[in-house]
């Protein structure tokens, strides 16, 4: 039986929304479902040719940040097409829309699904719990669609199968004048993104007054600097380079942590890091248990000496 999957195409995260096709592939196999996208008229043109059906909301009162009305749209789409699964990107607004839609549909919702696999014909949803220390397998009860949100960079769509796309307007009853209005939108500065760096040199509370000196080590390794929450909260580094639960999730090949003890909120921000080197005065700091190599001692001494060694080069 061909399944039906709805993907919400968030205008503020179009590329991330389309990646959710890979989550659907994991659920039903690449040819086992028909893909439906929910989009606002005039947004997400790149979905054309990749999804089977685009349900288009044309009511101008529905705005991308208006979760109450968008939840009504998700509900209306489901009442009409009876989806097996509803996938919503865990973007700023997707996170507000999904819970409201789940409540309207009276279905369970699993947030931030990190992995999906099939076991004996059943779909298993895996998410991090307790700040990333555990992975929980979540089961949904009841007969409703399987509803999930997925964080950015969780699934990568490899093969883009070209499909002919039907575009159909979606009529939604009960749309109201928005109770949330946008006053101003200023695009974030497109600064270098720590998530794109293969090497990160990260500083924490243990070295916070010397944070600016990490740059030279990062440069010697062709990488970038990042920070723990303590350094950011102290105003010594901008929030956009923070690693962890309240910052970013990073997957560099090499992560060098200097003066970071490794609270679980910090460890949550590390995903599939190949190699971890920790410099810390305390060899029992939690992050040391994840490290390939621990440099036990003064973090800045380590930074200075390793930078010099790297600049000297050669086999030594």
């Amino acid at each position: 039986m061909t399944r039906r999957v709805l993907i919400y195409l968030d205008p503020e995260g179009e590329a991330d929304s389309i990646q959710l096709l890979e989550a659907a592939n994991r659920m039903y196999g690449a040819t086992g479902y028909r893909s439906y996208g929910l989009r606002l008229a005039g947004t997400c043109p790149q979905a054309e040719g990749l999804l089977d059906v685009l349900l288009q909301v044309e009511d101008p009162r529905v705005r991308p940040y208006d979760a109450a009305n968008l939840a009504r749209c998700v509900e209306a789409a489901h009442r009409k097409h009876h989806f097996d699964a509803i996938l919503i990107p865990a973007t700023t607004f997707g996170r507000m829309i999904a819970p409201r839609a789940a409540m309207r549909l009276h279905v369970g919702l699993t947030a931030d699904v990190a992995d999906i696999h099939r076991e004996k014909g059943r779909i298993e949803l895996v998410r991090a719990a307790f700040g990333g220390r555990m992975r929980a397998v979540v089961a949904h009860r009841g007969r409703g669609p399987l509803m999930i949100t997925v964080r950015k960079n969780t699934f990568t769509l490899d093969a883009r199968i070209r499909r002919s796309t039907d575009i159909a307007p979606l009529v939604v009853d009960g749309i109201t004048e928005p109770e949330v209005t946008l006053v101003e939108r200023r695009p974030a500065e497109k600064a270098a993104d720590i998530r794109e760096s293969e090497v990160l040199v990260s500083g924490g509370g243990g070295i916070k007054e010397h944070f600016d000196q990490l740059e030279k080590l990062a440069r010697a390794l062709g990488g970038r600097v990042s920070a723990s929450r303590r350094v950011v909260d102290a105003g010594l580094a901008p929030r956009r380079i923070q690693v962890g639960q309240s910052g970013k999730t990073v997957s560099p090949r090499l992560y060098i942590a200097v003066g970071i003890s490794g609270s679980i909120q910090h460890v949550m921000g590390l995903k599939e890091v190949d190699t971890i080197i920790v410099a810390n005065t305390d060899r029992n700091a939690p992050l040391c248990s994840l490290a390939d190599m621990v440099v036990e001692g003064d973090g800045m001494e380590f930074v200075d000496r390793l930078t010099k060694r790297l600049l000297k080069g050669g086999k030594g």
Partner: protein, 265 residues
Amino acid sequence: MRIVCLAKLVPDVDNFQYDHERSALIRENVRLLLNPADATAVAIALKLKADSRAGSVHTVTLGPRSAMPHLEDLLRRGVDRATLISDPAYAGSDTHVTSHILAAFLSRCGFDVIFAGTHTLDGGTGHVGPQVAEILGIPHMAGISHMDPESLSEGRAQVRVESEEASYTFALQLPAVLGFAYAPEPKLPFIRYEALKRDLSGRVEVIDNQALGLAPEQVGVLGSLTRVRKIHVKGFRSPNTRFVRPDDEGIERVYRFLREKGFVR
């Protein structure tokens, strides 16, 4: 202006002990703490009250009886009233049920605006704020980093939300649920010496399901639409960690290790 703050007590996950033999977290005797983002929300509410922009601050907590000392602590810091919703029948409730329980109380307690933290440290789904708003039929915004206090007196809230894409300013009609992001400032006020002896009787109430009257099949594990089937502990890989010191020999070993791995050419 009556502000109701949703305040959750969460396990202090940073100080969990780990049982290496059983590969399990030791959850007994884990300390509870006020969820940091909720503390930010309460601190903002108390600041509004101190600046005479809010009349009263009322915290609402769903949780075990052991939350009580924390609620008394909040009263000593300036919260006017604290409600603990606690019933053994509520154990095992997922976010769907939790939202219904909170909304059942909120729909009759009276409020002009509801404050909450956007995320909690334990589950961290961020579902309860928007779901409570959906049940109550009011707007909601998450991830608020700043609120214009002046706007409240005009029956709306003007808030700022920072995302990776942009910085947004929104105006929400009140009543609304405002979800604040954790921020180091403002902090909860200190407890003054006089407040230690303050009589708190009558300012903290405990409410159970008899008072809220939800059907038994709507709450707890029975009413939940999601269930954790199993839990894997991860993140405790113990590779053959090598220990060195930041001396000549140690640095040389780090350097060679980086070469082996291809980070140095």
